[in-house]
């Protein structure tokens, strides 16, 4: 599997692994504490502070490493939850058809018709700023997209003769969804997962930038851009480092996803369309 991997996917995979490594071992790697004030405000990079310090005099590198932790964790959990909700409802709609499909799909349309960012802003400013609420709001909004994709994929599979054969055997919805449809829908959904994860990172960063995501003093990349954005006016590049981290993670994930998409769509015996 890895022998035939193109260079672009290798780079992507390396990038993803790198950030995951940072996130997992943050306390061991980071030279200073997450909220520890260690020097002056907006110091330029030196041997002591590799990336300089932020608007409160905290070490930027340490906060970037801890930030990877929060950003990756929240993005991953919200994407997983989004997929559980989206796939379950999407498959159900595709298999049951009729009014179940109508109700679910129209509700989904309703939710999608409101711009996600504005919707999230309204909901998050009303609800208490708890971590689980942030994750749930992100997950529900992402789930609308996942629902669309999984319903479309499952609708294609649900008309296959083997699904009809399962119905004729008397199988219940649970078996049809989990054993007949899911294995055949797995590869396009896996690729979608990678894509959605990248979007979740961006979405979280946007929310944090607007002050509704991760609450200070906890570090997260979007929030760090916000904290340091005023420095740019004075020629201080501190905001660029977390920005670059967001960009490289998004690109890395997309490189891996591209490769997965190519691989799964050209694989023989995949979804029978090769």
């Amino acid at each position: 599997m890895f022998k035939t991997m193109p260079v672009s996917a290798m780079i992507g995979l390396f990038g993803v692994c790198f950030y995951v490594f940072l996130a997992v071992f943050a306390p061991l790697i980071a030279p200073y504490g997450e909220t520890e004030v260690v020097g002056g405000v907006w110091l330029t990079p030196t041997a002591q502070f590799w990336l300089g310090t932020d608007n409160l005099g905290r070490d930027l590198l340490s906060r970037l490493i801890y930030g990877a932790r929060t950003t990756l964790f929240i993005a991953a959990v919200s994407t997983v939850v989004a997929f559980i909700i989206g796939i379950l409802l999407g498959f159900l709609a595709a298999v049951m058809r009729g009014w179940v499909d109508q109700v679910l799909s129209r509700l989904n349309d309703l939710l999608m018709s409101i711009p996600t960012l504005i919707f999230a802003l309204v909901v998050l400013s009303v609800l208490p700023s708890e971590l689980y609420i942030l994750i749930l709001v992100m997950a529900v909004l992402e789930a609308t997209r996942v629902y669309r994709v999984s319903r479309a994929v499952a609708a294609d599979i649900a008309v296959m003769d083997y699904v009809e054969a399962a119905k004729l055997r008397g199988e219940g919805w649970g078996w049809i969804i989990s054993r007949e449809i899911l294995p055949n829908a797995a590869s396009p959904l896996l690729a979608e997962f990678g894509l959605r994860f990248a979007f979740a990172v961006l979405f979280l960063s946007a929310l944090s930038f607007l002050g509704l995501g991760i609450q200070p003093p906890a570090a997260d990349w979007g929030g760090m851009v916000k904290d340091n954005k005023d420095g740019i006016v004075f020629g201080i590049g501190a905001a660029l480092f977390p920005g670059a981290a967001i960009a490289t993670l998004a690109i890395s994930v997309n490189l891996v996803v591209d490769w997965l998409l190519n691989r799964t769509s050209s694989l023989k015996g995949g979804r029978g369309d090769g």
């Binding site: 055997r169 054993r179 694989l267 029978g272």
Partner: protein
Amino acid sequence: MASLLSVRDLKIEATAYPPGEPPKDITIVDGISFDVEKGKVLGLIGESGAGKSTIGLSALAYGRGGVRITGGEVRLNGEDLLKKGPRGIRQVRGAKVCYVAQSAAAAFNPAHKLGRQIVESAVSHGIMSKREAEDRARYLFKVLGLPDPDRFGQRYPHQVSGGQLQRAMTAMALCSNPELIVFDEPTTALDVTTQIDVLAAIKAAIEETGTAALYITHDLAVVAQISDHIMVLRHGKMVEYGPVEQIIEAPEEEYTRALVNVRRERKEEARDQEGAVLKIENVDAGYGEGAQVLFDVSMHLPRGQTLAVVGESGSGKSTTARVVTGLLPAKAGRVLFKGEALPAALKDRSRDQLRQIQMIYQIADTAMNPRHTVREIIGRPLTFYFGLRGRKKTDRIKQLLEQIEMGAGFIDRYPAELSGGQKQRVAIARALAAEPEVILCDEPTSALDPLVADGILNLLTRLQAETQVSYLFITHDIATVRAIADSIAVMHRGRVVRFGPKSQVLAPPFDDYTDLLLKSVPEMQVGWLENVLKTRRMESAGH
């Protein structure tokens, strides 16, 4: 005289990309040589993967989908097409050599009128003016027996029937007055009753215009009607090549003999056809609010016997099966199983009622989940209906695999790792695993090559003798019906026009539709088409 098309030592290769392995070159066609004289027809015949279409397209110096012509020569009027540049080849294609595809519906552009598409290549090659081309098209419509030749070109592709569209495509190929036409299975997708008209039209047009042709098909009976010579192909190599009379009447090779003799065996029909395990009584059914598809359909199937349901596409035979399974609840009438009425809808039936009626599909590829192994496919009904697990289940799966003549070695394979015939066998094993009384077979052999299909039919017949299972066998192929049926129901436009024991249904006096159906089935003899057309003409003259 030098022949029109002369192919020598043709070699065609392609690159395969097996997953997880380095790409490798495979030879599709190897060492094929033949000649086509002016005005003659050469039939290319073989099962799928024999390379017949690939050879046909090489006459246009074309390789489909990454296929490369790597050796030999293709001479048209003495000129080697393979040595011509792209510009030279373009002048040949559509002007001197034309192509008629299998699916005319997919080959016509639905957004343009037929007439415009038919004259297009003749005009763009500068062979004739638009007016001349349109005149010729009208003349060809007449030769091909199309209705209202003067205005036929004004129609869109969706406004004419499948058989007419196939003839329109022949007109398109003939329009630029080519020297050679390649017919790639032009009648395979058509019903028998339509096929005979198209065959007659093609034959008449070829004779009228003096064009030579390559005729590709997998049906030896069809090619016998239209060709002067036949080449039998297998795995990209030539098996036998000779005049049509010799191939049909005195084949030399073992493989050709098998093709000629395919489905000659006939089962004796069961004497006692009273009593029924499955009985369909006065069923009306339809989809949605509007169209009713079945009208007052009644038939019955005695235990351990085979009831064949025949008819062309759209006659309601598959719909009848859907009513029996409960997928499409009947609007009126009822389905009796062992004398008891089955609930109309699938969801109201008990698990045991579901177990008693199993189904085999036409396309085994889509009938089995590609992500399940043979073990899971056959094993699921065992667990689901009988609660078998572990060792007992594995033993039973192996036993079933033996029964379908495949052996336990296949147990952990995925469907993609099986051949077409093996897939259908696994599908049969899955149906058998439920130990049903009735198996509904929805054209289980029509997607298979004749020899493989024969094997499946023999297997079904043997299993019936062993287990006393009954088959409701849906097919459009009369030869299959003759081979396996005890009783026959002929369907036409949603009604049963004829029902009874095989010997009665297939014996005169016939009703009009059954007569037409039986006479349309090509027989493996030279001159059959002429005879049928002659009797038809005499009949119509007599009226």
